[in-house]
């Protein structure tokens, strides 16, 4: 399948790229097989995700899932963020080829790690 226009838009104009120096929830996860990496830094205050930034290395779906994830979780409660599924990300990306679904899995996994690391 071809990538959606929304997918391409995120690839050309990534949202919330970078790192937050004041983050209190950080995670850096790697897909051990393909080597794709995602780093999330979050500022969580009063049970809400106030700010989020991402960095990513890997195939386009990994970059796009990182960008989309930041849009979906900013302003949500921790519980709302934790309830986000791979399917939510794939839908928000306008669909992903079946062989690229692992990009959404890496994004969700990194989010859960970051929230578990909340200090």
């Amino acid at each position: 399948m071809a990538y959606s226009s929304k997918f391409k838009d995120h690839l050309a104009h990534p949202r919330n790229a970078g790192e937050l120096p004041d983050a209190n929830a950080i995670a850096d996860e790697k897909n051990p097989v393909c080597g794709d990496r995602l780093r999330l830094s979050l500022i969580v205050k009063d049970n809400h995700i106030e700010a989020v930034r991402f960095l990513a290395y890997g195939c386009p779906p990994t970059l796009v899932c990182g960008s989309i994830l930041t849009e979906l979780i900013v302003g949500t409660t921790i519980e709302e963020a934790k309830s986000l599924t791979r399917a939510d990300l794939v839908n928000a990306a306008g669909g992903l080829p079946s062989r690229k679904q692992h990009a959404a899995a890496l994004a969700i996994e990194t989010l859960h790690s970051a929230l578990a690391n909340l200090s």
Binding site: Y3, K8, L11, A12, P14, A17, G18, E19, D28, N31, V33, C34, G35, D36, R37, L38, R39, F54, L55, A56, Y57, G58, C59, P60, L63, G66, R99, K100, H102
Partner: protein, 394 residues
């Protein structure tokens, strides 16, 4: 309209309008079956013969040594499988390289399953097979050496004429041994002569030289026996059964004639653009590695690894701004598949994943190079700003 710059001429070339015109006329006017005895058939036969002479002339071969096929893949199948099946009584050992096109490596792997032994020669950091390795790999039961003339991803030119000399010496000493070379990337880009190369079989594909897809050719030196892969007809001197693709063949003939006439001018033009492009990349973008030997390579092609980023993301970013390139790497089902060719150079995974092939053609201009560089520099910068590899390395 968005500007579009095509820098993927090693994947395929745009059809030259002169070739398209010759083909369009042939579709309507030269419709006869070349096997028919009547005038319509003989008209098609004569047109095929003219095209065959042109294709032969491109590589210094004789007209009756050219077998038309559906493309490079079929020609490679016919050459390797056809030769091995016809000569298995003499031996069942094949020598090839680690950087062949899948249409060669795949056939070798298939023959391996059928009891042939295959030696795959390394290419070292410069992407070139060493003649000493070929000599060492030769065995009394080696029947075929199949090594490409120029590589499709990095453009490195292999020492085919030296290998040809080696084959001739062995043959003079009584060994039944033949040399095949896949010249799909080289034909029309390098001056080629089958006698100077000393090869017995040589593969060409028309769509790499400004003709349409669906037509290719195998050069078969006079006296070389092949077991036909397409049987059930007498066409192509019993080597390839099936009614000839007359318009395709005529297009190939026209494209071969133009390639021969314009070869010097085209290669000078492509090389100048490629060199300008590489100079600008070095000037504008840091942390790049240029893959393959700097000298012994095709003049129209540049293969570059960009550190900290991955090839497919860069490819799509370039495509969004109209610049078409290719990458040999693919990531699927969570499994990393870096380009086997780039890996064979001994580089690390990150560089292999970040490799991009830029291949120039006769219709590209200096303005295309300038535009591509602008887009490339911007895209690399954008992806690096996202990359945890480049951020953590600062």
């Amino acid at each position: 309209m968005k500007r579009r710059v095509y820098l993927d001429h090693s994947a395929t070339t745009p059809v030259d309008p002169r070739v398209a015109n010759a083909m369009a006329r042939a579709v309507v006017e030269t419709f006869g079956n070349a096997s028919s005895v009547h005038g319509f058939g003989q008209q098609a036969r004569a047109a095929i013969d003219r095209a065959r002479r042109e294709v032969a002339a491109l590589i210094g071969a004789k007209q009756n040594e050219i077998v038309f096929t559906s493309g490079g893949t079929e020609a490679n199948n016919l050459a390797i499988r056809g030769l091995c099946e016809a000569s298995s009584a003499h031996g069942r050992h094949i020598i090839t390289s680690a950087i062949e096109h899948p249409s060669v490596s795949g056939v070798c792997a298939e023959l391996e399953k059928r009891g042939f032994e295959v030696t795959r020669l390394p290419v070292y950091g410069n992407g070139i097979v060493r003649i000493d390795d070929v000599a060492r790999a030769l065995r009394p039961d080696t029947v075929l050496i199949t090594i490409m003339l120029a590589n499709n991803e990095i453009g490195t030119i292999q020492p085919i004429s030296e290998i040809g000399s080696l084959v001739h010496k062995k043959r003079a000493a009584g060994q039944k041994l033949w040399l095949h070379t896949d010249a799909v990337q080289a034909a029309g880009r390098l001056p080629l002569n089958v006698d100077e190369l000393g090869c017995d079989l040589l593969t060409m594909s028309a769509h790499k030289l400004y003709a349409p897809k669906g037509i290719g050719a195998l050069y078969v030196r006079r006296g070389v026996r092949l077991h036909g892969q397409n049987v059930g007809g007498h066409q192509e001197r019993e080597r390839r059964a099936g009614t000839e693709n007359v318009p395709g063949i005529i297009a190939f003939g026209e494209a071969a004639k133009l390639a021969r006439e314009e070869l010097a001018q085209r290669s000078q033009h492509d090389r100048a653009l490629r060199n300008r492009f590489e100079a600008l990349v070095r000037e504008r973008i840091s942390d790049v590695v240029m893959n393959g030997d700097r000298e012994r390579r095709l003049g129209h092609l540049s293969n570059i690894s960009f550190r900290f980023i991955e090839g497919e993301g860069l490819l799509i970013n370039l495509d969004l701004e109209g610049v078409a390139v290719s990458t040999g790497s693919a990531c699927s089902s969570g499994t990393l598949e870096p380009s086997p060719v780039i890996r064979a150079l001994g580089v690390d995974d990150e560089l292999a994943r970040g490799s991009i092939r830029f291949s120039f053609g006769k219709d590209n201009s200096e303005a295309d190079v300038e535009y591509a560089i602008e887009v490339l520099a911007r895209s690399v910068e954008r992806l690096r700003s996202l990359s945890p590899l480049s951020v953590s390395s600062v």
